[in-house]
Structures are given as structure tokens and as C-alpha cells.
């Protein structure tokens, strides 16, 4: 049983690292959006997709592991309570670390989302305006009054 928990702690560490990777990626994406660097955004998206596949796989592993420990449907917050007495300090540390990484990721993802949404909103407004604004001047008027 202890081994199962230790294995799970290892897994949490891995998951945490993955989240850290994703966090960096989100920051990069935000920066790219701010620069209006579409190629950069595109590149981030591709990496994101790859990482999200890994994340899916890990998620399934998590479910298997938790089931193995008899902790199916127990959330991270319940991990410590459900850990064996002697592993609790370790569990607490692992849970806290994972949680902080998760929070970091969420905040970075939120920033990226806000930035993207704002840009999109403005672009949509512009494109809507453009539909009836014949703004494109082929040539300038005779500038001499």
C-alpha cells in the first residue's frame, strides 16, 4: 500500500512538471499574442496540443492509480486525510506542490485567455466596421486647396 502511495507521489511530481511546462507555454503564447506574432501563437498551439495529449494519458494513469489505492473519486484535497499516517507529511508536501503548480498554470492560462479574447473582440469589431466602411482610398485628393 505504501508503495502505491509513493508511486502516486512520483506521479504527482510528473504531473506537476507537465503543468509547469504548460505554464511556460501559456506565458509564451500571451507574449506572442501581444506582439501580434501569429506564427508564434500557431507554434504555441501545436506544442499545447502535444502536451495536452500527454496530459490526457496522465489523467488516465491518475484514475488507474487512484483506483488501485482505493481512492477513486477522492479529490486532491482529500489525499492527505486518506493517506496512511506515516505518509501524511509527504502527502501534504506533494499535494501542496502540485496545487501551487496547478494554480500557477491556471493563472497563466487565464491571462492568455483574457488577452486572446480581448484581441478577438477588437478584431471582430474592426471587421464588422470594415464591412460597410469604404475606407480604402485609391488615391489622395488633390491636396492643393
Amino acid at each position: 500500500m505504501l508503495d502505491a502511495f509513493r508511486e502516486y507521489f512520483d506521479f504527482m511530481e510528473q504531473l506537476g512538471r507537465l503543468l509547469e511546462q504548460l505554464t511556460e507555454l501559456e506565458k509564451e503564447k500571451t507574449a506572442a499574442v501581444r506582439r501580434d506574432d501569429l506564427l508564434g501563437v500557431d507554434n504555441c498551439m501545436k506544442q499545447e496540443q502535444a502536451l495536452s495529449l500527454t496530459l490526457r494519458a496522465m489523467d488516465r494513469k491518475r484514475e488507474t492509480l487512484l483506483a488501485g489505492m482505493g481512492l477513486r473519486d477522492v479529490a486532491l484535497s482529500g489525499l492527505v486525510q486518506n493517506s496512511p499516517e506515516e505518509l501524511r507529511p509527504e502527502a501534504r508536501a506533494a499535494a501542496e506542490k502540485l496545487r501551487s503548480r496547478y494554480v500557477l498554470y491556471r493563472s497563466a492560462a487565464d491571462v492568455a485567455r483574457t488577452t486572446l479574447e480581448c484581441n478577438l473582440h477588437q478584431i471582430e469589431r474592426l471587421l464588422a466596421d470594415e464591412a460597410y466602411a469604404p475606407a480604402n482610398r485609391g488615391s489622395i485628393a488633390d491636396i492643393r486647396a
Partner: protein, 705 residues
């Protein structure tokens, strides 16, 4: 456990309960203050209780436990390194913000991109229109001279009015900026006063053992705010109040070199715009203030907007006995005073000065050396006893003053006292900050108001004999743009007037000796009265003269600026016309001079910094290039750079804010976690109590007596 008494365990449990409770209170306080501006996260200081005193014979096999936990105080979580970094960055942000703000307002005037009809600009378009009417005037063949004048004049007038308008806008901008500078100065002074008062209240609280955390937060916020206005250094010193009582003393000084102290614990200084004393002689002309001919003094605000730091005072107006600024005191001649009380002022002020007393060995020798130095410094005679001069006395001092190297200094008026009795050193002693000592928003505003860039002259650079900013010649504020616009207006007027004027001796009758003569050849009585000159026959058509002047009421071409550029009185009233030709016996449609005017309007000119005689060519190009490339273009580049720099500083400041907040800020998740932790600790301590209770029960009731 040998050193813990039987019931001591209960104490331990109780302490645990107390500590957890305190900790929960602190957490609760943190959570409720999450939105309080400037709130620093607090944490409970806990120490393990240790009975270490009687362990002399401690066996290494003995098992020891400490006696529980003590909550020793509540602390704030702040990282002073990050505070410093953040404030340094905010100084730069404040500086760039103020600078960019000013530059943007200048651009509202000078940036003609996308302005005007068909985006053809404003003043730029006026130039084009003027060239156009002269270029194509010949097409209206029925035009007589008056009609040509009318057309050209109205284009020229539009141009002049635009110049005037720009100058006026610059004037308004300057006024607004000065008002803004004063407001900022007031705001800065308010912050300094508030910090001083907070220092006093924190000190009071500390004397009685409190930690005054709320006041500290408030003070930190104010320091943050101050850092945007002035570059500062913050220092926390310890002040010994005697009897082993030590309290913290906050010292804030400017970050320049030398550092000037703004706040010294419960004392704070105030900033004001420095004053300059100007002297005027009996005719009302300005003369050096120490000149013997001075009849009247006037104290005005310094044109360079140098700042003065007042003496450090506490809330009750008591002076800081250890005022560190005053050792570097500069004192100035302020106003005429001839009553006896002024003597006291002289004495008092100078007495406060510490000085280099290395000259000589005896007190008398030292006094003599100082007297000489002082008189040299202020330009008074250093020999003899006559005339106005300082006299340093070594006999009127207390022992303490002697020890501090202080001497009583008198000021001696000359034998003809009323003639020279001008010196009265101001009551209010101040330290004047020179050009390079300030940074931050206030400095940026000062620079905007004073820097003339390449138009700086030796005189403006060394105003008030204070050290000037070596970079001043590359810093461009409102004066630069004003000078550049004036240069353009003046050059334009000069060139146009010259193109429309022939030398008197060419067009007017002279005799062989070069004297002006009348129709009969008789020499004119008054050779300087131009109204009596008679045109030569071949120039009988001539009606040239100045087209532009410094006022619509005259033909005076002296001192033309953008603000006063006008159509000359004579042109406006038809006695001067645009010269179409400058040839002898010019024919009706000869247009050589119109061609010359166009060539002049479109050719390169040398624009000169400062006055024409001493200046250096600043720019060679057409009038319009001067306008769009040198004036608007320089501004645009400055804006561009400042904007980028502001962004950079802002980004760093944002990052530092987040970093700093990571330490001092409250995070709900964190606190929630803490709450759970402390709650568990509380439960555990309670449990401990029950356990011991059980144990003791066994011991007391379970063992036979």
C-alpha cells in the same frame, strides 16, 4: 523530560492552543484585508519555549523536549530588496510618464501628420499656399500691384497667424505645466508631511512595544507614491532612546549625489521652487545683485525651477538638531535690510555652519582662515577691515560650538553703511538642489520646463552658478521647441524682408560722395531721415521694404519671434508692396524678384542655434524641412524613444510588483491552507490537553496513595 514539571505539560498544551488561536486571528486578518491597498501579509512569530538555563549537568542520554510554543509577535512579510528595486523602477516610470505626457502635449501642437485639409498639415500647408500664390500670381494678368499684394498678403498673414497660434499654444502649455509642477510639488510635500507624521506615530507605538503594522503599510504606500515623484533612498536606522530602548528610524533621502535628506525620523523637509534675487539700479535696469549700484532687490522664482529643501522640522516646527543637509548650506543674498535685527539673522545663520577648520592650529588662526575663505567665496574683500565683509569671531562661542568647529560670523557693513548694507541672509535656511540631483516625475517636469537642448547657451546652462546637467544640451523640453519655432519664424521674416528690400544707396539719390540728395542734387540736411530720401529715376517704381515685423503696428524687424511675427504696418497699409522686380526701370511684368522669392522660400537656409552672431548652424534645409524634420521630427523621435523606455520600465515595474506581492500580498488559497493547518493544530493542542488529562487522571486517581 526531566526539566518539565508535572503540570508544565498543561502549560505546553495551553500555549499550543493560544498560538493556534493567534495564528488563526492573523490569517483571518490577512483574508479580510485582501483588498486593502498596500496591506502586507502578516504572520505570527512563534518560538519554541526553551528551558536551557539549568542544563549544566545535562546528560547526553537524557531526553529533552522544549516547553511548548510562544507567540512572540506579529510580523509583516516584506522584502526590502524588492521594495528598493520596485521603487527605483517606479522613479523611472514616473519620470518617463511625466516626460511622455509633456512630449505628447507638444506633439498636439507640432505633429501635423494627419492634420489639416486633406491631411496636408497646418503650418506646412500655409507655407505651400504662400509658395503657390507667388508661383502662379502671373496668371491673373489683370492684377495690378495691389491685387498681387492682396493675394500674397493674405497667404502670408495666414502663415504668420499660424506661427502666432503655435507660440500661444506653447505659452499655454508652459503655463499649464508650471501649474502642474506646483501641484506635484504640493502633493510631494503632503506625502513628506504624512510620512513624518506616520513616523512619529510609529515611533510612539514602538516606544510602548507596539509594532504599528497598519501605519507601516500606510507609510510604505506613501513611500511607493513618493518614489514616482522623486528618486529616493530609504534607510531604516535604529534610534537609541536610552535605557536600552531602541526604536526604528526611517530616513528618506534623494538618490542623487550628494544625498539630501527629505525625512529624518520625525523630521521632514518641504520642497519649494528656489528663489533668485535680482538687483536693479536706479534706472530700473538689472545689475548683479552685489553691485554697488543696486537700488532695489526683487526676489523671484528661479527660472531653472531648481528646488529648495527646507530645514527638517517636526510637526511642532522644531528643527532637527542633526539636520544633515545644512552642512552643505548655500546661503543667498535675499533682500535689503538695514535694521538691527538683521544682524542677529546673520549671526544665527552663519553660526550654524560647520566648515573646514583645518586652517591653522589655534582657534584664532582657524577663524582667520575661515574668514578669508568665506569672503573669497562671496566675492568680498579679503584684506583689511574696511568695506562689506564677513568677520569670523573666535571669542563669542560656547565650548560646545567650539568643539563642533563653529564660529560666530558677523557681517561687517562698509564705512558708508547705507550704501552697502544689503546683506541679510534669509531666515529660512534652505538647501538648493542643483540640476543633476533630482530624478523621477518632478525632475522630468523640470526638464520639460527648462531644457533647451541644443539651444542652451552657456548662460542658461550655468544659471545661478549651480552645477548644471552635463547632458542638458541633449535634453529637449518646451524651451527647445519654442527656440526652434522662433528660429524658424525669425529666419523666415529675415529672408523674406531681405528679398523685398534693396539697399538705400541703390534706390535713393546720392551724390558722388554717397550722401543722400534731393531732386535738385542738394544734400539732405538729415541724412538719417528716410522719409526725405528721393528715389532715383530708374527706381521710381520702387516700393519695397519689410514685409514682416514684430508687430502689426510698426515696421520694426528687431526681435521677431513666432509669437509676434506680423505683416508689417507698411505692407498692410499699402505703402510697401511685394517687389516683382529689382531691376532698374523694371518693366510691367518683370518678375525676377518673384522668382527670387520663390527660390528663397524653397532653398536651403542655415538655421542657427541661439543668436546669429555666436550660434552654430543647427540645421541646413528649407523652412518646411526645418518645421517637419527638425521640429516635429525631433519631437517624434523623442516621443518614440520615451514611449519605448516607459514600456520597458513599466514591464519591469509590473514584474517587480508581482514579485513583491508574492511576498507581501495576500493569496486566498494560501490563507485557506493556513486556516486549515492552524485549525488542525488547534485541534491537536486540545487533544494534547485531553491526553495529558487522561494521563494525570491515571497518575492521580489510578495510583494508590
Amino acid at each position: 523530560m526531566g526539566n518539565l514539571s508535572t503540570f508544565g505539560t498543561f502549560t505546553m498544551a495551553r500555549l499550543g492552543i493560544y498560538a493556534s488561536q493567534y495564528a488563526l486571528n492573523v490569517t483571518g486578518n490577512n483574508i479580510s484585508n485582501i483588498n486593502t491597498d498596500g496591506y502586507s501579509r502578516q504572520s505570527l512569530d512563534q518560538t519554541s519555549m526553551n528551558y536551557g538555563a539549568a542544563d549544566r549537568y545535562q546528560s547526553k542520554y537524557d531526553v529533552r523536549a522544549n516547553g511548548g510554543v510562544l507567540a512572540t509577535g506579529v510580523n509583516q512579510l516584506r522584502d526590502q530588496y524588492l521594495d528598493i528595486r520596485y521603487r527605483n523602477e517606479m522613479t523611472k516610470v514616473g519620470e518617463m510618464d511625466a516626460k511622455l505626457d509633456g512630449l505628447n502635449q507638444l506633439a498636439d501642437i507640432f505633429d501635423e501628420v494627419n492634420k489639416g485639409e486633406d491631411q496636408a498639415g497646418v503650418l506646412e500647408a500655409r507655407f505651400n499656399e504662400l509658395i503657390q500664390v507667388i508661383e502662379t500670381q502671373h496668371q491673373d494678368q489683370n492684377t495690378n500691384q495691389d491685387d498681387i499684394d492682396k493675394i500674397v498678403r493674405s497667404a502670408a498673414e495666414a502663415l504668420a497667424i499660424q506661427f502666432n497660434d503655435y507660440a500661444k499654444q506653447l505659452e499655454t502649455l508652459t503655463e499649464n505645466k508650471i501649474a502642474e509642477f506646483r501641484d506635484e510639488l504640493d502633493a510631494t510635500n503632503t506625502i513628506l508631511t504624512k510620512i513624518r507624521d506616520l513616523n512619529a506615530s510609529i515611533r510612539k507605538s514602538e516606544v510602548f512595544g507596539g509594532s504599528a503594522l497598519t501605519q507601516r503599510d500606510e507609510r510604505n504606500l506613501l513611500i511607493d507614491e513618493l518614489s514616482e515623484k522623486i528618486g529616493i533612498n530609504v534607510l531604516y536606522e535604529t534610534e537609541n532612546l536610552g535605557d536600552g530602548v531602541e526604536v526604528e528610524k526611517l530616513k528618506i533621502s534623494t538618490s542623487g549625489d550628494p544625498e539630501r535628506v527629505l525625512v529624518d525620523g520625525i523630521y521632514a523637509a518641504q520642497l519649494s521652487i528656489a528663489k533668485t534675487t535680482k538687483g536693479y539700479d536706479a534706472n530700473g535696469d538689472e545689475v548683479p545683485p552685489k553691485d554697488a549700484t543696486v537700488a532695489r532687490w526683487e526676489t523671484v522664482e528661479n527660472e531653472n525651477f531648481n528646488l529648495n529643501i527646507s530645514e527638517l522640522e517636526d510637526a511642532k516646527g522644531n528643527l532637527d538638531p542633526a539636520d544633515p543637509n545644512m552642512t552643505k548650506q548655500v546661503f543667498s543674498v535675499q533682500s535689503l535690510g538695514d535694521d538691527a535685527s538683521d544682524w542677529d539673522k546673520v549671526k544665527n545663520v552663519v553660526k550654524r555652519l560647520t566648515f573646514d577648520n583645518s586652517g591653522g592650529t589655534t582657534a584664532a588662526q582657524k577663524a582667520e582662515a575661515y574668514e578669508k575663505a568665506l569672503n573669497e567665496q562671496y566675492g568680498f574683500t579679503t584684506s583689511g577691515t574696511g568695506g562689506p565683509r564677513f568677520h569670523v569671531s573666535d571669542t563669542e562661542m560656547t565650548d560646545g560650538e567650539k568643539a563642533a568647529g563653529m564660529y560666530v560670523v558677523h557681517f561687517h557693513m562698509g564705512p558708508s553703511g547705507t550704501e552697502y548694507n544689503f546683506v541679510n541672509i534669509d531666515d529660512e535656511r534652505v538647501t538648493q538642489l542643483n540640476d543633476t540631483e533630482l530624478s523621477g516625475g518632478l525632475q522630468a517636469m523640470r526638464e520639460l520646463l527648462t531644457e533647451a537642448g541644443e539651444y542652451s547657451t552657456a548662460a542658461t546652462l550655468s544659471r545661478d552658478d549651480l552645477a548644471y546637467d552635463a547632458d542638458a544640451a541633449t535634453k529637449r523640453g518646451i524651451p527647445y521647441y519654442k527656440a526652434a519655432l522662433d528660429t524658424l519664424a525669425r529666419k523666415f521674416a529675415e529672408v523674406m524682408n531681405e528679398a523685398n528690400t534693396l539697399p538705400d544707396e541703390v534706390v535713393y539719390r546720392t551724390n558722388k560722395a554717397g550722401k543722400f540728395v534731393d531732386e535738385t542734387g542738394a544734400v539732405l540736411a538729415d541724412q538719417t531721415d528716410r522719409s526725405t530720401y528721393v528715389l532715383r529715376e530708374e527706381y521710381s517704381y520702387y516700393d519695397g521694404g519689410a514685409l514682416f515685423s514684430n508687430s502689426g503696428n510698426t515696421d520694426d524687424t528687431e526681435g521677431i519671434t513666432a509669437a509676434n511675427l506680423s505683416i508689417s504696418h507698411s505692407w498692410a497699409h499699402g505703402s510697401v508692396h511685394v517687389l516683382q522686380s529689382t531691376q532698374e526701370n523694371a518693366t510691367s511684368r518683370a518678375n525676377d524678384n518673384l522668382a527670387h522669392i520663390i527660390a528663397t522660400l524653397t532653398k536651403d537656409h542655415d538655421f542657427v542655434y541661439g543668436s546669429n552672431t555666436t550660434g552654430v548652424t543647427s540645421f541646413k534645409g528649407t523652412f518646411q524641412e526645418m518645421l517637419t524634420d527638425t521640429i516635429a521630427g525631433t519631437l517624434a523621435k523623442d516621443q518614440n524613444i520615451t514611449d519605448t523606455m516607459r514600456d520597458n520600465y513599466n514591464t519591469t515595474a509590473d514584474e517587480l510588483y508581482v514579485d513583491r506581492d508574492a511576498i507581501m500580498g495576500v493569496d486566498l488559497n494560501d490563507e485557506a491552507m493556513n486556516m486549515m493547518q492552524f485549525q488542525k493544530a488547534y485541534s491537536a493542542a486540545c487533544r494534547l490537553m485531553t491526553t495529558y488529562d487522561g494521563m494525570l487522571d491515571k497518575l492521580i486517581n489510578g495510583t494508590a496513595v
